[in-house]
């Protein structure tokens, strides 16, 4: 039986995302790097009590048109774009572990801000580099590490502080998940991945940091088409690969 990690549909790819799962969701803040189809599939499946780890808190569908309009002169968000704010809006979040949960304007309230204010979800706020390194540690089998970032700030709360080289450091635990949902550009059937531009971001970091990593890609190519010298994520880090359509359908349509 040949190795083939390509899965036929997004719904099939997330079928075992159970209630209570921890999801590392890739992307940063722009439209290119977000695994929108995987997120939509988790929304359709309706798994609840999720812990979601990511950079942003997520715009969701209510705020998205506002953002799309506001960003119009900078960058075009596809009309059917969704991010994990959709899962927050639909009450699927129990706990968010984010670096940038709030809206950049005081006039807006992200879904996670609303959920926390209403007591429906918890939030853990993490400096972005610490978040990335905690994920990398999980992928790498490192249980915890000391970082110089955070002593004397909110990030210190509840952490061990230890001096190294005359400087205080915080002990930060690894942060892995049950599923990493990531966006990549191309894959082959071994799960080797390459990314486009700055879309590598947290996607490249989260690949391999969960029991199951699922990659949403533009294209699956034949073995050998990806140059071994240029493969960014070696195939052992990805368990499933799904091809996304060129044009995103509405999030609630089976895909």
């Amino acid at each position: 039986m040949a190795i083939d990690k390509v899965v036929g549909s997004f719904d099939e790819a997330v079928a075992d995302v159970a209630d209570g799962a921890t999801l590392l969701i890739g992307g940063f803040a722009g439209p290119g790097e977000c695994p929108s189809c995987l997120i939509a599939a988790v929304a359709r499946k309706g798994a609840k009590e999720l812990t979601i780890v990511g950079n942003l808190g997520g715009w969701g569908t209510n705020l998205f048109p506002v953002i799309r309009e506001r960003m119009r002169n900078l960058i075009a968000f596809p009309p059917e774009f969704v991010d994990h704010g959709l899962l927050v809006e639909r009450g699927q979040l129990k706990k968010g572990i984010f670096s940038y949960p709030d809206a950049p304007s005081p006039a807006m309230l992200m879904p996670v801000e609303r959920a926390v204010a209403e007591g429906k979800a918890e939030l853990e706020l993490v400096p972005q580099g610490t978040l990335a390194e905690r994920i990398r540690a999980a992928k790498s089998g490192i249980a915890a590490f000391y970082t110089p970032v955070g002593p004397g700030t909110i990030a210190e709360a509840g952490k061990e502080v230890r001096q190294f080289n005359g400087r205080p450091h915080l002990l930060e635990p690894a942060l892995g998940g049950d599923f990493s949902l990531i966006r990549a550009h191309k894959a082959d059937r071994y799960g080797n991945l390459v990314y486009r531009g700055t879309s590598r971001t947290f996607n490249g970091t989260m690949a391999g940091a969960s029991t199951i990593t699922i990659a949403e890609v533009d294209e699956v190519v034949e073995l050998g088409e990806l140059d071994s010298e240029q493969i960014i994520t070696p195939g052992l880090y990805a368990q499933r690969v799904v091809v996304r359509p060129a044009r995103l359908p509405p999030w609630d349509e089976p895909l």
């Binding site: 709030d102 970032v149 700055t198």
Partner: protein, 223 residues
């Protein structure tokens, strides 16, 4: 009555005079981003962005020409440039935490005379965002804060102690405002430059800690 305050472009121009050949520079949101327009012509620097690019080109102004897979941390489209490298997020912050960023230019809500920076939690908000600012404030070799000297309603922002939660203690090296340039030193804040037409007394009246006057005190150059 003091003279006019500098506009954001002029503040950015002043910050960019700190760019030195070969530097790796990270620019935060807002006014810091504008600094990329004022790199001195005889200086070659590489810009780093948290989401994973080093040595990228200018910000693309026409959304028709933008590529959604090439953005900076402010979600502005960036142009590709020869020599640019791309990387994932943990690598990007190894660069930050490992002390490989020569200069971070950040915005500020409050700065103390010890160089403490508060810039992540807006007053009245229950939830704020740390983003990459905390990592940069702690670990960049040099930190410049560029901000208005006071809030829109006249509240002081340069204080003996910050009242807002800190981004990082004792991290700021230089403060550039619409009124003055001040260095953070072990002795306190040293007033080095003032906007044209301003007096040291006028700057002091908008600044809580006592300012030490530099022997080389001079007007901010606007060119």
């Amino acid at each position: 009555m003091a003279d006019e305050r500098l506009d954001e472009q002029t503040m950015a121009l002043r910050v960019a005079k700190e760019f030195q050949d070969g530097m790796i520079v990270n620019l935060g949101f807002g006014i810091p981003t504008l600094c990329s327009n004022f790199v001195p012509p005889d200086v070659e620097i590489l810009f780093h962005t948290e989401n994973g690019a080093l040595g990228f080109g200018s910000i693309i102004q026409d959304p028709e020409e933008a590529d959604i897979d090439f953005i900076n941390a402010g979600v502005q489209p960036i142009s590709r440039q020869a020599g640019m490298s791309l990387f994932e997020h943990a690598e990007s912050f190894s660069m930050v935490r490992g002390g490989h960023i020569d200069l971070a230019v950040l915005g500020g809500l409050q700065v103390s005379e010890q160089g403490d920076l508060a810039n992540w939690l807006l007053p009245g908000k229950a939830i704020g965002s740390l983003g990459g600012g905390m990592d940069l404030a702690f670990c960049a070799k040099r930190v410049i804060v560029v901000m208005a000297h006071t809030t829109k309603d006249g509240q002081l922002k340069i204080l003996k102690r910050c009242s807002f939660p800190l981004t990082a203690p004792a991290c700021v090296d230089l403060i550039v405002t619409d009124v003055a340039v001040m260095a953070v030193t072990p002795q306190g804040l040293v007033l080095q430059e003032m906007a044209p037409g301003w007096t040291a007394e006028e700057v002091q009246s908008l600044t809580e800690p006592r300012l030490i006057l530099s022997p080389q005190l001079k007007p901010i150059e606007l060119l």
